[in-house]
Symmetry: C2
Subunit: 378 residues, 2 copies
Amino acid sequence: MVDRLVVVGAGAVGSAVAWAAARERLAGEVVLVDPDPGSGASRVAGGMLAPISEAWPGEREVLELGAASLAAWPSFAARVASDAGRDVGLRTEGTLQVAVDAADVADLDRVAAHLAEWGRPVERLTGRETRRREPSLGPSVRAGLAVPDDLAVDNRELLGALGAAGSVVGVRSLARRVVRVLDDGARVTGVEFADGGVLEAERVVVAAGAWSGSLHPALEGRVRPVKGEILRVRARRTSLPPPSRTVRASVSGRPVYAVPRDGGRLVVGATQYEAGFDPDVLVGGVRDLVGDVERVLPGIADYALEESAASFRPGTDDNLPMLGPLGPSGLLAATGHGRNGMLLVAVTVSTLAAVLRGDALPAEARAAAADRSAVAPG
Amino acid sequence: MVDRLVVVGAGAVGSAVAWAAARERLAGEVVLVDPDPGSGASRVAGGMLAPISEAWPGEREVLELGAASLAAWPSFAARVASDAGRDVGLRTEGTLQVAVDAADVADLDRVAAHLAEWGRPVERLTGRETRRREPSLGPSVRAGLAVPDDLAVDNRELLGALGAAGSVVGVRSLARRVVRVLDDGARVTGVEFADGGVLEAERVVVAAGAWSGSLHPALEGRVRPVKGEILRVRARRTSLPPPSRTVRASVSGRPVYAVPRDGGRLVVGATQYEAGFDPDVLVGGVRDLVGDVERVLPGIADYALEESAASFRPGTDDNLPMLGPLGPSGLLAATGHGRNGMLLVAVTVSTLAAVLRGDALPAEARAAAADRSAVAPG
């Protein structure tokens, strides 16, 4: 018996869980399996670590989980960077949520009041104050909400650093496609590959994002693909400089964000469709993203369009991820992170590490217990 | 003496001239030199072979040259296809020029009258008649002009076929960058590469598109880059089918076209900027192309965006290309084709072949003589 742990899926979540498991020697061998590491939703993510400006009344558990993960992010990032010997691309400039019409202003006020009740630091700004902080904002911006505690991460830097850190601590990577987690009715026995091959394992972490539902009956129907599209743009020599903070807005009812990257780049996102695994970047999606972000940052018209891409967030019915044991013994979930995979990777790592050590789910992760539907169906 | 002909630039024009020269044994050896064959404006072209719907009063010579080339296209295409053993992607469905506002309708009427004077077959259609021919046209289309004689070509199929045909007839391809055409004051002696190497040649055809001006003093200032951007989109299973003809319109004063390709694809173009060699696809350019084409073909919002690209048309002051001898003996131009490179490749090939045989410029190409500025300066 090698005490093998297989992690299915080398996005940010799976790579981070495999790294942590190997680093803390929570299994005799850690194997990270993905036919195309870092190619899914993690590659396309905006990288906002922004639970506070995501908060809406009625999603208190989502906010609490996100806040716990945000608090854990700096030390998580420092450990990854230290092991990897490279930066993970964390940014600390915070978020500006801006309003472009009267309805948005009312929304900002509601969010500000809600967050004040929660004791979260936010600052309500006039349009002029907002533009003073980010001169690239256009004249249509009527009000703003500064959220200084939000972070952001360069998703591709993070993926690179996680891969390097995993190698350093002994994660074994396998470029194969897992089609099924195998069990004997009581315990996990391994994973089966697309070519019929099998890798035996005592424990399997399913971190396959939107594709997780097909890997074991206990996950079936629990995770659905929520398609999203993003643009990657770059300020040119002749352009207005990009904002230094994450800028978020709602335009014509559609949320839009621009998250700074190094080199004058911005990730602009994100559309949202319930359309199954439809991989196309749509003309209409690009039109909406460009039109909406131009409303807020008009100078972006002169930016270079470097990339447009689509991927699939792993959505759950209650917008909470699925963390920890479910189904047969040895089956562990680290999926269902919806739009918040980058934010929640820190709390996911500490939660899965606790479970792999044999501990109970940490208190802050209990609402996201993977087996919660068994307790409270529906 | 090998009687070597060097053709600089493996876009459609250079590849076609090299193919024709080798095929007709107009030189002892034909060498086609390009560091990245088929990567320039030819790769990004819409592929409209449409002199008639391009025609405007005052550009009679442009129309005549285009009409001569259009007439030569079917036999040119047949010869290339025969040598290559593959299709060049010629389409014969014609063009629909459509009007979306009152000013456009007046323009259509002017063009129709102008072309009628010229004896060119065109058909003036109401909005309803226009939409009956192409049901994908939106309700904003108020009138149309059918130009049945226009052709279109799949630029990438053509490039592939020209490369194959050239190989078959003995064109030697060299993946190097020419920086200068060399001469001894009276005659061409060869070309110099970026690494300082030299290839001797008795004759050199400069077919380097927008980059031609830097290759010899006789070409300096005669060709400028006119940047253009295009989109390549694809109808999906759920989409309205694409038009079967080339559709052209003017929206907010900007020309826009959609040229059909196989597989439900369309090339949508093209922006136009006098911006030097600026290689970026601009966010604002994509926004304009999408907005303008949606005005005419609203169903395109559901199409997949497969590619956005920019390149540089080789522009001249009088919108005519530069064909044939200029400067020292043995220097020949096949450049300056502006927006009409694909259309004019047929007449360019027959013109350069005549010159290489030692004949005078054919009558239809005299207005495009490369040395015309020496005759009528300014």
